[in-house]
């Protein structure tokens, strides 16, 4: 596994963040409570032990001779317990354990104030509470003076430490218990956040792929719901803009049709009269006729595209002999002698013959005008589809053109002389193929030459 500074997935990040926050919080709480419990335990032990020592000394003090001799000190030490040191000026009474239960700080604290002083130390890995106290002489009127006797004693705090450890351990367990809960919560939170995010992503993908009808139902009233609403609004406005543009194209084509009808009618008259004109007038009228026909073809293609965009294009399915239909298409356009046709007879497919004619005419016309002869049309049949391949022997399609050949008005080379096509032929051919539930693809043959492949499914349902 490679080291990454932070998990990339949103889910992983959410889980880690929630787990961290929870565990840190639980640990801090556990630590704080363990700490305060510990100091309470230690404080109470300290006070209890100090009281005990003071009580032991107070109980025996009136019985002690003063000024004390060695015996008195020994007696006092025995009364206080083991691990005790008693001093009076030069006299001292100590255990023979070797270590003295006193530190310099403790001793100076005891001497400075006539009060009991305590200190926690560790010795040999075990915690000890040192209690040091002077014994004071109180006058009957309450005045306190030092007696010069000092008592130091050490008490083992191991049992207190044991209880502190118990507390700490249970706090740690509590914090650890929070861990699986935190993971569970984080997963739940991540799911509730990620589901709308995933839906939005799917919607955005569909929008990007051109499905402008894609929407995300907003759930709840949070920021993600706001985002979903915004995405939906964006999609709606895209859809509106696209619909406006398409309606405009459709309207323009419609409006052009009436004047074109007139033009088509009168250029026919012009054509018959052209024979009697002088050469310039004849050429002009021939140009007018040719351009009118081209304009009509362009408007018809535009309207056809508009119908696909509006979803009003309908299939009129008939049982069609594919070889016959392709041959008819070529014959009607006078291409039979320019095109090599390989088609098995008897392949009957349920399709719209006009649309198949449009596809084949576009592909072959394209090959004839852009590619090099010979142009070859091959019909082949497999179990579930019929393939119609149209190939030429030219240089083929450049790699940068290939993805765009089906784009509307796409011109591979802007410097190229104008060709008779509308620029919509291949786009319309593709739409027609898809309307049949088939597909149309462009590619190059290994030896050179472009090849368009139309695939039509054989089990086309009756429309």
């Amino acid at each position: 596994m490679t080291w990454r500074p932070w998990p990339r997935g949103l889910r992983a990040r959410l889980v880690v963040a929630v787990v961290l926050v929870t565990v840190l919080g639980a640990t801090a709480a556990a630590w704080a409570s363990a700490r305060s419990a510990r100091s309470a335990l230690v404080d109470s032990a300290r006070q209890r032990l100090a009281q005990t020592v003071a009580g032991q000394i107070g109980a025996i003090a009136p019985e002690l001779t003063y000024p004390p001799d060695q015996g008195t000190l020994d007696r006092l030490r025995a009364a206080v317990g083991p691990n005790t040191l008693v001093t009076y000026r030069n006299l001292r009474s100590a255990d023979d354990t070797g270590t003295e239960p006193v530190t310099g700080a403790l001793r100076s604290a005891v001497r400075a104030r006539h009060l009991i002083a305590t200190q926690v130390v560790t010795a040999g890995g075990r915690p000890f509470l040192l209690v040091g106290t002077p014994i004071v002489i109180t006058a009957p009127d309450g005045a306190r003076t030092s007696s010069g006797i000092e008592v130091y004693t050490g008490r083992d705090l191991t049992d207190v430490e044991g209880r502190v450890d118990d507390l700490t351990r249970s706090a740690a367990y509590t914090a650890a218990l929070a861990l699986p809960l935190a993971v569970l919560l984080a997963l739940l939170a991540a799911r509730s956040v990620l589901r709308p995010v995933r839906e939005l992503r799917d919607t955005a993908r569909r929008l990007a792929a051109g499905d402008l009808g894609a929407r995300s139902p907003p759930q709840g009233a949070d920021e993600l719901a706001d985002l979903a609403v915004t995405v939906n609004e964006m999609a709606e406005s895209l859809q509106r803009m696209q619909a406006d543009a398409r309606r405009f194209a459709a309207d323009v084509s419609h409006e052009l049709r009436t004047p074109l009808s007139t033009l088509m009618a009168v250029v026919d008259v012009l054509a018959t009269a052209a024979a009697g004109m002088d050469s310039d007038a004849r050429e002009s009228s021939q140009l007018a006729i040719a351009e009118t026909h081209r304009l009509v073809a362009l408007v018809e293609d535009l309207m056809e595209v508009s119908r696909f965009d509006a979803g009003t294009a309908r299939l009129r399915l008939e049982d069609v002999d594919v070889a016959g239909a392709v041959r008819g298409c070529l014959r009607a356009r006078g291409w039979l002698d320019r095109v090599e046709l390989v088609a098995p007879d008897g392949v009957v497919l349920r399709l719209d013959p006009r649309r198949l004619d449009v596809i084949v005419a576009n592909l072959v016309g394209n090959a004839l005008s852009h590619g090099e002869p010979p142009v070859r049309v091959q019909v082949s049949v497999s179990r579930d589809q019929v393939r119609i391949e149209v190939a030429d022997s030219g240089p083929g399609l450049p790699q940068d053109v290939l993805p765009h050949v089906f784009d509307r008005f796409y011109k591979a080379d802007t410097a190229r002389p104008r060709t008779p096509g509308s620029g919509l032929g291949l786009a319309i051919a593709l739409e027609n193929a898809r309307l049949h539930g088939g597909d149309l693809t462009a590619g190059n043959i290994a030896g050179g030459g472009a090849r368009f492949t139309l695939r039509l499914p054989r089990n086309q349902e009756d429309g």
């Binding site: 049709r257 009808s261 007139t262 088509m264």
Partner: protein
């Protein structure tokens, strides 16, 4: 050559088509509304009506139906390309053929001629099939002794079918022979015309005796 009534509301299209058809040798009268057109059909009795379906006032489909009801004058309708709704409506109203705007006058002229052409190459004689009598010389048809008024297209369909009784004609073949369409002809023309023909000559159009349907192939003439 033929007298044609052009019903078209747009004045420039109307004039352009008039000029073009005149150039093809037709005598063209015009009308700019359905009402005018129907009046003209009654008064001048044209050989054929070219009818734009998009008309103000009475729409083209209704005009077509009234023309058909008034007599056997053939009707060719002008429709917008791909507007199947118009085509279906026009054919059901009795139109003989349709062309798509903007139309090339040569195409329209060819359709006009095809619709008007009678089976002139058929041999003279009389074909009798049960109660149906077809006089090939006079180009008249009687059923149960009653004369039947057929449009030229209906008559030509009947002659084509009855010329080879029992032979199955595909719709494509009928389109090429009767309508002189190319390989992309619209088979709905055939189906509509067959229905009109049956309505005129069959005793029970729902159970046809003469023009029989061969499912999946086309039509044939009976009885066998």
């Amino acid at each position: 050559m033929a007298s044609i009534l052009l019903i078209e509301d747009d004045p420039l299209v109307r004039r352009g088509l008039q000029l073009a058809l005149r150039g093809h040798g037709h005598d063209v009268r015009t009308a700019d509304t359905g009402e005018d057109g129907l009046r003209e059909v009654r008064s001048s009795a044209p050989d054929l009506v070219v009818l734009d379906l998009m008309l103000p006032g009475i729409d083209g489909v209704e005009v077509c139906r009234r023309v058909r009801a008034a007599g056997a004058v053939p009707v060719i309708i002008l429709t917008a390309r791909g507007d199947d709704f118009d085509v279906v409506g026009g054919l059901e109203a009795g139109a003989d053929d349709y062309v798509v705007k903007p139309v090339q006058p040569t195409v329209l002229d060819a359709r006009i001629r095809a619709v008007l052409r009678r089976a002139t190459d058929a041999p003279d004689g009389v074909r009798v099939h049960r109660d149906l009598r077809i006089d090939l010389a006079a180009l008249t048809v009687t059923a149960h002794g009653e004369p039947v008024s057929l449009t030229p297209t209906e008559l030509r369909l009947l002659l084509t079918l009855s010329g080879a009784p029992g032979r199955v004609f595909t719709r494509q073949q009928l389109l090429e022979e009767v309508w002189e369409h190319d390989y992309l002809g619209d088979s709905r023309l055939v189906d509509n015309c067959v229905q009109r023909l049956r309505a005129k000559i069959e005793d029970d159009p729902g159970a046809p005796e003469y023009v029989q349907t061969v499912r999946g192939f086309g039509y044939r003439f009976g009885p066998l």
